[in-house]
Symmetry: C2
Subunit: 412 residues, 2 copies
């Protein structure tokens, strides 16, 4: 008998029929003797409907009232799910974030959890009840309703699991696990049985959208075993946990290939090769809240240098306008930009202890005649910027070069 925290996302509770299916699933776990705490999202579409109402009233709705508004979405789901459980003879009780209470700071629409009062939930679990909690929301010290921002329901699930010291936090979603890469690009992509928090973080930040980064960070910080599963298909999903817990992970060098097409590169040509030039270029970009990802600088022959960096495609024009001013001051020659790029990353804790991962990667790309425009690395990741049109080819060749196409091992 274990204590499971399960989180069901908007698609999983998107209709009355799907809420009934979730109730069936919970009933089964309960019948097996497990203690169950459930965190749910708003029914899919509901949050957007509410935001639509807000934006039809105001271009700039008050964050406090936005939270009062959108938090109703999850409140509807908790009530309906409890009704469905009661119909099945399962005792259950719903809680809003305020009722739990999930104490957050007062940063409306992007609040952070500070503390969770587990006393009510513990009492319900002891009485044999399923606890159903509204995800994505909390309450600040003054009793104001807050929301956790994007992906907040995942964070609620993980935070509840941490506070209750649950055996596992199970995130039910519309995919049946974390894959070596996007199966739409590589047909041989396979579901990973296990992955470490660090790898999951790199996969997420490199473009894999299975889990929100914040919830993975949270799970890692409090060492909450996290499992991603499908609401619609039975299966073990993917377990995300600490590296140390699992010796078999060491054998794998690269766990997955992540990629994205969200970025564009901007190059400032002919920057005078003087100290502080890069800072003078990048500082105003940061001040304008434009996130810079990869940065590369090459020295050229004539005492000037070219500085290239990537930003989100939506920010390219804004970035160029800012650079125009800076470059005139610095005496740089020109500004060029290219949105037809893609980033491909290999991720794996195994590369820490294995030499030659980079050369395997670069050779694989070279064999396909794919030119690498930029490179960036972390301890467990190597990312390259290439021409966008080679993206699928690159992902497939790397997937194969690192042996990811093989059949999955049986779960141990």
């Amino acid at each position: 008998m274990s204590l499971f925290v399960q989180k069901y996302g908007g698609t999983s509770v998107g209709t009355v029929e799907r809420i009934e299916a979730v109730a069936d699933k919970i009933t089964k776990f309960k019948a097996e003797g497990h203690d169950m705490v459930i965190a749910v999202s708003a029914m899919s579409g509901e949050t957007n409907r509410l935001l639509g109402l807000a934006s039809s009233i105001s271009d700039n709705p008050t964050p406090r009232e936005l939270d009062v508004l959108v938090s109703t979405g999850e409140q509807v789901t908790i009530a309906l799910l409890c009704m469905a459980l009661h119909k099945r003879g399962v005792e259950a009780r719903s809680y809003t974030g305020q009722q739990v209470k999930i104490l957050t700071d007062s940063a409306h629409t992007k609040a952070r959890i500070q503390d969770i009062d587990v006393s009510n939930m513990r009492a319900d679990l002891s009485a044999g009840r399923v606890v159903v909690v509204a995800g994505f929301q909390g309450v600040d010290e003054d009793g104001n309703i807050t929301t956790l921002g994007r992906g907040g329901s995942d964070t609620t699930g993980v935070a509840l699991a941490a506070a209750l010291k649950a055996d596992e936090c199970q995130i039910y979603t519309d995919v049946d696990g974390v894959y070596t890469t996007d199966p739409r690009v590589v047909s041989g992509a396979r579901r990973l049985e296990k992955i470490t928090f660090e790898e999951m973080l790199e996969m997420a930040s490199q473009g894999s959208k299975v889990l929100q980064i914040r919830s993975v960070e949270f799970a890692g910080k409090y060492n909450v075993p996290l499992r991603v599963l499908s609401s619609f298909k039975d299966g073990p999903g993917t377990l995300i946990s600490l590296e140390e817990d699992d010796a078999s992970m060491e054998q794998v060098v690269v766990s997955g290939i992540a990629f994205n097409r969200d970025e564009a590169k901007v190059t400032v040509i002919g920057v005078p090769d003087t100290p502080g030039a890069a800072a003078r270029i990048l500082a105003p970009i940061g001040e304008a809240n434009i996130e810079v990802d990869v940065i590369v600088q090459n020295i050229s022959a004539d005492n000037t240098t070219d500085l290239t960096f990537t930003v989100h495609r939506n920010d390219v024009e804004k970035a160029k306008a800012i650079l125009k001013v800076v470059c005139d001051e610095l005496g740089a020659k020109d500004i060029k930009s290219d949105a037809k790029i893609a980033k491909v990353s290999i991720v794996g804790v195994g590369m820490r202890s294995h030499a030659g991962v980079a050369s395997t990667m670069f050779s694989a790309l070279a064999n396909e005649n794919i030119n690498i425009q930029m490179i960036t690395t972390s301890e467990i990741k190597i990312a390259v910027i290439i021409e966008e049109r080679y993206l699928e080819l690159a992902v497939r060749s790397l997937h194969s070069a690192f042996g990811l196409d093989a059949q999955p091992q049986e779960e141990n």
Copy 2:
């Protein structure tokens, strides 16, 4: 400068445009220097949408969860109204029933208010803010969300006004006041400038649906001046207050004519004229939760009696089935029923001190050849049961006989 509590019903906040119109109205009052506390209903249709979700999951949804579900309706409205006020530069803050807090008993879906904490609202009013409260909802001692049942938002408005000792509780609705009778039946019906709580209660219980009985009782008990106004049309509406406050009311004998067609009459014929017979007939009706309105008993010549009473039309068949058993035991001759009846009532505190009101009423009906089947009276009301087809004729003739067709006086 006054403190007004205003309540806006579902139709008044039924669309984003109407919420904007309500915000305009509040902005105007605020600009005039008044302190404003607003209670709102769910947008029209929303409560039914939510109940529809519940009933598609369960025929018998848990009352606690039903309250969690439907209370989101008003929560949406408070947020949107505050956004609309902010857009107009008006400081405003929303409160759920739980946040206020409006303490109720734990009778889910029909809770009663026990106490209202005014501290937060007082602080907001002092800071110049408009306070926007979700109607219809509260919280019990254990932090469970409760709802007040039908017409609950009116009750919230009145209870807030009583707790805050407001100068007036203004109920905005889709009619522009209380009328002498239904204008659809009598074209000369006119809006009353003033009416007493007692008259309003009798009007409401006799079929006038402008205000919920419970909120009028509440207002009377705490002596909260209540004003009914239209959300869509400017005008003074109708003020409902204590009789003593207003000398001019004394001059009017009858304030209004109420009527309904909801009832049916049931007659038990040939009941042996022995003590306890009426009780033996009516006791099982009461036990079956069938409400009995008018009761009349006539003595007939042969030591038997006929007992007639009225029940809601929906309850006729149920009542007859119960009576069948009782009548066999008692040896009564027959049971007859008639749903083609209507009740017409004249209401007015003036009849207390005026003789001859009943004879004026009965003469007016006799002049139209309308037969009176049953009569029932209270201190400020006389109601008669007549054939349904004469209803409009009866209402018009009484409206005229009591001088209600006259032009309204100027407001004093």
